[in-house]
């Protein structure tokens, strides 16, 4: 003890080794490692769900893009044509010709089967009408062999894909009879059935329950397009104008603070609220046409505006004040400073915000339900103006509509619609990223 008391205080301090971790460092490092593990875990979980979701969508939706067609060689002579055209039930005669021809074709492939025109109608639709229309339009094809590709009914499709079995059919109905299975098998054996890309899914319109296979998303894509046009034309200038005023010109006082808070709040308002607002104001009060993309676009504009205003203000704020000073310093007016210097620098951010806002609006369903854009729309608008004011659907509303129907083919179409919608969204977001990369300037 006496020795210790005699040594100077500095020497009493133990020398810390840098090689060995002390307790505190160990604890710190352990907590850092733990945090990293949490992060990796979170990312892995997210990735897992994303992959599972994509796999589910693709496996359920991709079949919607393929369709079974029956390819039948067929020859019609001039006499047959004349006989049929003179008969009372013209298309019936054509169907008879087709049945004979198909029987012959099957026989030549070594498959013997008895079937009637009813069966053909159930499996391939109104074949007689199709044939007649073709030969009336192409009389020069008379006597020559023509190969017809006839779209098979959705149940054929499902039978071939394995989602519809013999056991599923209880006695048969006007859409399908047990003996039809034999005909399908026969045609498959004769290699008359093949799978082709279902263009009709993109170009077609919604169909009734009797023809789920023919349903297409085309008309609702057009409906969405017209809505997006309305949203873009209204929300971009209004949103950017409002943001520029608020950010660059407006005095900072309680009133503008109040507006700011409310814009932020608007961004968080559930979309269905905008829907009911649209219903009350645009349809019941202003008497704009119901179910029209114009009204849908107006409602979605209200929804998109806060997004655009917030992102625009953020990108205006991100422009360094030195640029404004520089412009004002050489005698530019406030407006010249904003439009010549600040806005070009903020443009990539504004564009990105706008595209993300549009993508959000494109995927929005709830407000559309309220303004009636979920109706059954089975035709394209005739003119550009009608595209805005005629009742139409939108892609997400169409998906909702299909998913609500009982027929499994419609469910498949709904999944297919989701793929289409996702493709649009991915495209828009990619454009946003590219624009930002391209026009971003350093200062």
């Amino acid at each position: 003890m006496t020795d210790a008391a005699m040594t100077p205080p500095e020497a009493a301090r133990p020398i810390k080794s840098l090689v060995h971790e002390d307790a505190r460092t160990k604890k710190r490092n352990a907590s850092e490692r733990r945090f990293r593990a949490y992060g990796i875990g979170a990312i892995c979980t997210g990735m897992f769900f994303l992959v599972a979701l994509l796999a589910a969508i693709l496996s359920s939706g991709l079949p919607a893009f393929r369709q079974a067609v029956v390819e039948v060689p067929f020859t019609l002579t001039l006499e047959q044509y004349n006989t049929a055209e003179e008969a009372l039930l013209k298309t019936g005669i054509y169907t008879d010709y087709f049945v004979t021809s198909l029987t012959d074709t099957l026989e030549s492939e070594g498959v013997e089967i008895e079937f009637d025109e009813k069966s053909i109608e159930r499996l391939l639709g109104k074949v007689g009408g199709d044939l007649r229309a073709f030969y009336r339009a192409n009389e020069d094809q008379l006597g020559a062999p023509v190969s017809f590709e006839l779209a098979a009914a959705s149940r054929v499709d499902r039978y071939l894909k394995g989602t519809f079995e013999r056991e599923d059919l209880q006695g048969g109905n006007r859409f399908f009879m047990p003996e039809d299975f034999d005909l399908i098998d026969a045609m498959r054996e004769a290699k008359l059935i093949k799978q082709v890309f279902n263009w009709n899914f993109f170009t077609g319109v919604d169909t009734g329950v009797d023809n789920p296979g023919g349903a297409g998303i085309g008309a609702s894509v057009l409906g969405s397009f017209f809505m997006m046009l309305v949203v873009l034309v209204l929300s971009l200038p209004i949103g950017v104008g409002a943001s520029i005023y608020l950010e660059e010109f407006a005095p900072k006082n309680r009133f503008t603070d109040f507006i700011e808070v409310n814009i932020s709040n608007l961004a968080a308002v559930p979309s269905i609220v905008f829907g009911i607002l649209g219903l009350a104001v645009f349809i019941q009060f202003a008497h704009l046409p119901q179910s029209a993309p114009l009204v849908g676009g107006l409602v979605l504009t209200l929804m998109t505006l806060p997004t655009i205003i917030i992102s625009t203000r953020a990108s205006l704020k991100a422009v360094p004040p030195s640029i404004r000073d520089a412009a004002l310093g050489v005698g530019a007016s406030k407006m010249q400073a904003v439009f010549h210097h600040v806005l070009p620098l903020a443009a990539p951010g504004i564009l990105t915000g706008t595209i993300i806002g549009l993508a959000q609006a494109l995927g929005e369903t709830a407000p559309l339900l309220l303004i009636g854009m979920v109706g059954f729309v089975a035709r394209y608008p005739d003119t550009f103006v009608e595209g805005f004011i005629e009742p139409n659907s939108a892609v997400p509303a169409q998906i909702y509509n299909w998913a609500a129907r009982s027929d499994a083919v419609f469910t498949e179409k709904a999944w297919g619609g989701i793929i289409v919608l996702l493709l649009f969204l991915i495209t828009m977001n990619t454009i946003a990223v590219i624009l930002r990369r391209r026009f971003e300037r350093r200062w």
């Binding site: 005095p251 900072k252 360094p320 030195s322 640029i323 404004r324 000073d325 520089a326 412009a327 004002l328 310093g329 050489v330 005698g331 530019a332 007016s333 010249q336 010549h340 210097h341 620098l345 300037r441 350093r442 200062w443």
Partner: protein, 265 residues
């Protein structure tokens, strides 16, 4: 103007360009400038020195009303340029700023080409009738900014790609392109190395031939090198104003003496 003549000063002219009387500046509750009276001569370099936060930059920004862009800033008192009150309600600050150019502390070229940086001011003020005149004006301004030789081959290159010193000279060229009568410089060399600083100082001395230059600086050596007159600000007050030589060798106020000898600040 004769009645406002200030005698016995070692400067090229004795015309008063800027006359400030009883200027007070408030930032919200803060009283940043307290009752400043100063008369700045034409064709003279006037330096504002003083410790950080003493109000020299604030006062400089009053001269071209850049403080208008700050919401909470309030200016009272009179500032006259060529006998006209610049805070008169009839005065358009945009016109004022064309007459009173400014160079900022941090080089802030526009993210555009070198040519467009210089041509922007003349364009918005309509100083050039055609492209040839504009080209000539740009060249003249870049020459006055002592940067022409370095950039003449790459006028289309972005101004932000230049080095710090070059950027600052580009900003000076941009400021003189609008043919101002007064040039305000807010610590133009604080972000530059000694070589670039020397170039800028040389340039300031040349600019004195045509403009009244007011420069805010933290460097007392710089004030002594470039200015003919010096104003010392402290805590929002103008403590002392006079010939640079007299301020640095024989200051009247003890605070000035403490500052220049390094005891405060």
């Amino acid at each position: 103007m004769n009645d406002m003549r200030i005698l016995e000063r070692d400067v090229d002219t004795n015309d008063v360009k800027i006359a400030a009387k009883g200027v007070q500046v408030y930032y919200g509750e803060t009283h940043a400038i307290k009752d400043v009276d100063v008369e700045i001569d034409d064709k003279t370099v006037t330096a504002f020195i003083g410790p950080s936060g003493c109000g020299k930059s604030t006062f400089l920004r009053c001269i071209n009303r850049m403080n208008d862009t700050i919401d909470v800033c309030r200016v009272t008192g009179d500032i006259h340029i060529d006998g006209e009150d610049i805070y008169d309600s009839k005065v358009d600050p945009v016109q004022l700023r064309a007459k009173v150019g400014m160079v900022f502390q941090k080089p802030n070229p526009f993210p555009k080409s070198i040519y467009d940086n210089v041509a922007y001011g003349p364009r918005i003020h309509g100083l050039a009738k055609n492209k040839a005149e504009l080209d000539e004006l740009v060249e003249k301004s870049l020459r006055r900014g002592a940067i022409w030789d370095e950039v003449k081959d790459r006028l289309d290159a972005p101004g932000t790609g230049l080095s710090g010193g070059q950027q600052q000279r580009l900003c000076i060229a941009r400021a003189v392109a609008t043919e101002p009568e007064v040039l305000l410089m807010d610590e133009p060399c604080s972000a530059l190395d000694p070589i670039a600083t020397a170039q800028i100082e040389e340039l300031i001395d040349e600019l004195r031939q045509s403009y009244s230059v007011v420069i805010v600086t933290h460097s007392m050596q710089q004030a002594a090198r470039v200015s003919q007159k010096t104003a010392f600000f402290h805590l929002g007050n103008l403590v002392e104003y006079g010939e640079t030589g007299q301020i640095f060798t024989n200051p009247v106020d003890p605070r000035t003496e403490s500052y220049i000898t390094g005891r405060i600040g």
